[in-house]
């Protein structure tokens, strides 16, 4: 791998690495062709289930509105994708682009800061002994079980006390808290940052904060990416909080904006085309992030369940 892991980590056999070097068929008895075919058929059928809706959305995005209803919904007609995107971007002074940028700011900025904040706390909980440590960890664990949506209304009430509803901060600030991130980073820190290395950094005269950023962050990096990804998706998908907090359409994330258009389709039929092409564009950033960070989530998303 290419991520910076300069020091040997005290990690048990990494099975995925073993696997790629020793294909199973070499030593295991052969599986029957019947079960192989059966497994393949199940997977292929479900591939259709998972991908056809997205394929349909893509095809719908390439069609003009007359052809949307009059041609085969699962195959191309005249290729109008770029005209459709152009029309969407131009509609109402480019409010859609604004929504996309808002979503990127809420999710990108929020997830980045949330990961850093959670990592510092998780690292401290794993590597230092201090009174109240267990209490803090248990409260945080309780926080994992409190769903974000249950907080949306009380957060709205509090933000309205300080006149911060309908601002960028009303959605951004609550996104910075990730109890699950603390839970994960505590496990990661315990597993991948050896005490000896911290000790060594201390002997070299590095302060605690500095050794966190120079030693621990590097060792925990792959897991931090996982936490970032979790939080990014959570914020990008968040709906209730912006729904109760925001009135001004200029502040909307893309999910809330498209939701608003979709609920007006019956009154303003031309919105349907914009909703479809907008939906298509809104999933592209997440798909790109997933593809780029594939090697992190591919085996790493479940890291929290190991314990």
């Amino acid at each position: 791998m290419s991520a910076p892991t300069p020091a040997p980590t005290p990690v048990a056999t990494r099975r995925s690495a073993l696997r790629s070097s020793a294909p199973k068929g070499d030593f295991a008895p052969k599986e029957s062709p019947l079960s192989k075919a059966g497994a393949m058929i199940v997977m292929l059928i479900f591939t259709l289930y998972f991908l056809i809706p997205i394929w349909w959305l893509f095809i719908a995005g390439t069609k003009s509105s007359d052809q949307f209803t009059s041609t085969n919904p699962l195959w191309f007609a005249d290729f109008n994708l770029f005209e459709n995107i152009g029309a969407l971007v131009a509609y109402r002074d480019g409010v859609f682009l604004r929504w996309m940028l808002n979503s990127l700011a809420y999710a990108g900025g929020g997830a980045l800061l949330a990961t850093l904040i959670a990592a510092m706390c998780g690292y401290a909980l794993a590597k230092y002994r201090f009174p109240g440590r267990e209490v803090i960890f248990n409260v945080v664990l309780g926080g994992v079980l409190v769903p974000a949506t249950a907080l949306a209304l009380p957060l709205f009430l509090i933000f309205s006390q300080v006149s911060l509803t309908n601002t960028f901060w009303a959605v951004f600030l609550p996104s910075l808290v990730s109890p699950f991130g603390v839970y994960l980073t505590r496990i990661f820190a315990a597993a991948s940052v050896p005490d000896e290395l911290i000790e060594a950094a201390r002997l070299d005269g590095a302060g605690e904060i500095r050794s966190f950023f120079t030693v621990a962050v590097k060792l925990m990096f792959p897991s931090l990416v996982t936490v970032f990804l979790f939080q990014f998706v959570a914020i990008w998908n968040n709906f209730f909080l912006p729904l109760v907090m925001l009135r001004d359409e200029v502040l909307f994330p893309v999910t809330l904006g498209l939701y608003g258009w979709n609920s007006q389709v019956n009154q303003i039929p031309e919105l349907r085309g914009y909703v479809l092409i907008g939906a298509l564009l809104s999933i592209i950033p997440l798909i790109i992030i997933f593809l780029l960070l594939q090697r992190f989530w591919r085996n790493g998303l479940g890291a929290g369940s190991v314990k």
Binding site: A60, M120, A124, R298, N299, L301, S305
Partner: protein, 308 residues
């Protein structure tokens, strides 16, 4: 490539407890813990406390047109919650949803994870990616998309949707269940799959050489070892189910069968929009408590079974 699903010795065996000594690095610990601590207090603890406080108030008016004032009302709002038929109907609805949808979704996720982990498949990378892609689609967007797919005239499967009305009062709950399943199967599959990857191969290679089939290995060796991962996905699914909001809210524009009291969270939203903040806060508190109790019970229950 790297796996973060590690189970190293440092993690399973807690660092030996050292006997009492003065706390070292006080300042550093404070710098590490405080940012999260402060934000957690501001955006988790205080809102919870404030919701509880609001739920204990009632609005009183002097006469019909008098000034409204909030006064302490004890458990008045909670009595209203327990007398509120639509609220309990919505709770019943999501429980029914959960009892069916969660096992189906986790069953599929487990099946796919086991197949990915077995030597039966080719093209694993492709399947893993293809099944995970729906997770990139936000709930709102997925609901919009499936809303079109269900509609009698716009759907590519109009042969089916013209004959079966997925948006009818009887079926719309299950139509929503399908949207949720579609989005989350791949995510749960990955969590379970990464737990499978953490099992050392030697454990079941021996069984394989003894002539055990893949089914038998999966059932007797792999599944018992990945119970913690399945429990984790179960808890997240229970939480998610009780919190259903985005999908039904979107479906309101496709189907009149989805009312403003369809799920508990929709009730919270529509009650607060009346505005009846105090009752909405009481709904929120009851819902959060119910979620907490349910997932905690589930955790304890499965852990006890585990220990045997």
């Amino acid at each position: 490539m790297t796996t973060t699903a590690v189970s190293g010795p440092t993690e399973t065996s807690p660092v030996p407890r050292r006997t009492r000594r003065p706390i070292a690095h006080k300042k550093a610990i404070a710098i590490f813990v405080l940012p999260f601590g402060v934000l957690f207090a501001l955006f988790y603890l205080i809102p919870i406390g404030y919701a509880v406080y609001q739920s204990l108030l009632v609005v009183e008016r002097e006469g019909t047109f008098g000034q409204a004032t909030e006064v302490f009302g004890g458990l008045t709002q909670y009595i209203l919650v327990f007398q509120n038929g639509p609220f309990w109907q919505s709770v019943g609805r999501v429980l029914m949803f959960g009892v069916v949808q969660v096992p189906v979704m986790l069953g599929l996720a487990l099946l796919f994870a086991l197949l990915l982990d077995s030597p039966l498949l080719k093209g694993k990378r492709f399947f893993r990616l293809a099944f995970f892609v729906p997770y990139a689609v936000p709930g709102v967007i997925a609901a919009i998309m499936w809303g079109f797919l269900y509609s009698p005239n716009l759907s590519p499967f109009s042969l089916v949707t013209e004959n079966i009305d997925f948006l009818s009062a009887e079926l719309v709950l299950w139509a929503i269940a399908n949207v949720v399943t579609w989005v989350y199967v791949g995510y749960n599959m990955l969590i379970i799959y990464s737990a499978l990857l953490a099992i050392p191969t030697e454990i079941y290679e021996a069984a394989r050489l003894d002539g055990a089939g893949q089914l038998r290995i999966a059932w007797s060796v792999k599944i018992p070892l990945i119970i913690p991962a399945i429990v984790l996905t179960g808890i997240f699914s229970i939480i998610g189910t009780l919190q259903l909001l985005a999908e039904p809210q979107v479906f309101r524009s496709f189907s009149s069968a989805v009312t403003s009291t369809f799920t508990p969270n929709l009730m919270v939203y529509s009650t607060s929009a009346i505005p009846n903040i105090n009752l909405a806060a009481a709904f929120s508190v009851v819902l959060a408590l119910a979620t907490f109790v349910l997932s905690f019970t589930f955790l304890k229950f499965t852990q006890r079974k585990d220990a045997k």
